[in-house]
Symmetry: C2
Subunit: 215 residues, 2 copies
Amino acid sequence: MRMTSESVAPVLGLRERKKLAARQALGAAALRLALERGLDQLRVEDIASEVGVSPRTFNNYFSSKEEAVCSFIVAQQERVREALRARPAHEPLWEAVINAAVDQASRDGSPRREDVRHMRDMLRNAGLFAEMLRAHATVERVLAEAVTERAGGTANPLHARMLAGIVQSASRIAFHTWLTSGPDVEFLPTFVDLLREASAGMPALTAAAASATAP
Amino acid sequence: MRMTSESVAPVLGLRERKKLAARQALGAAALRLALERGLDQLRVEDIASEVGVSPRTFNNYFSSKEEAVCSFIVAQQERVREALRARPAHEPLWEAVINAAVDQASRDGSPRREDVRHMRDMLRNAGLFAEMLRAHATVERVLAEAVTERAGGTANPLHARMLAGIVQSASRIAFHTWLTSGPDVEFLPTFVDLLREASAGMPALTAAAASATAP
DNA sequence: CAGATTATTGCGTGCCCCGCACTTTTGCTA
DNA sequence: TAGCAAAAGTGCGGGGCACGCAATAATCTG
């Protein structure tokens, strides 16, 4: 069962690769079509026929079209893990996490500006929004594992989870801000700002409150 | 149109009160029945007949049974806001937020131990889990407003949002831990622990990592 | 190449969500 | 208090979705 090298994917068999390709194709088609015309104008049949499979087969890969649209988020989980592993061992944990997040966000590239309006419209759909949060939660879980791995066996796994939750919150909030602000607001700087604030315990905000309540 | 006092709800009219009562009754019935028999063994028709309305009416209040089951979470948003407002003005923001969260969690009381298994089973359902996250996101939004209000006009609303996101993450993770651990683990201490760690910038974890990488 | 897995597909079913039109209830006002 | 406008409840019907099941096709293995 053990294969040649240390890599996780030791030359997947043809069958597995076809499955993976089909899943990715379905996810990509779902996302593209949902952006084009909106989720409620998109039938499962459309996604399936776009890829050339039957509607029934679509439901063998995804249990809903919302899940398909959000699958690209879940697909980031492996890259997140690798990004953290790739940080040099001497970096403190917070720095490593922040840099890993930046590395990965930079590698993906920012979403295209012209899709902003479409994305905002799409996320008005409650079901899709909920599914997006679920996808983020899945990534968070993987990130928590990676943090635990890096922090060593002595680390409190609960705190690792919390750290991952903070990163996920920063990502989600930065994305939301980017989505609802003008073109002058960029994603990555906002993301980094939130992470740095959180890593310092949000001192700016709490200081502002303290000075506001005791002038 | 303006009513008597300063209270937000100036003796709601009979119509509004009936609507609210119906909504709460439907939400409570949905939660209770879903815990009893599982979400996929629960028909919308069952919830409606439990309350004595038609299935069609159910969908005038909630757009899905998942939303109904999670409505009790969203209902906490007003109490969260009030809990933060009730904290004395001299408390630093982090202390006020933590104490407000504790106050509110104590007032609600911990969920009943005997429901643990049922809750875990329920949350295996992907759609319900997603909807729960959406409910938490709604509460987070209200909490962010309350934080902004308390921190004063000078505070960065983005950071307020981040603070709310951290609180929500702590709540979610503490709940998940409580749900998947033995009866010796309690919710509230875990919740407070996570909040205090986060308020300090997670120094314990990062220190553990630093010492682990440089022994 | 032959047999054993595994994926794809068609079909049928039950349920869900919602638009629409109609009835009933509620609240206001003359 | 009677009547009227607004709003909630309800029945009906349609479009769609998710999935179990069994048959078929593709792929792997020895």
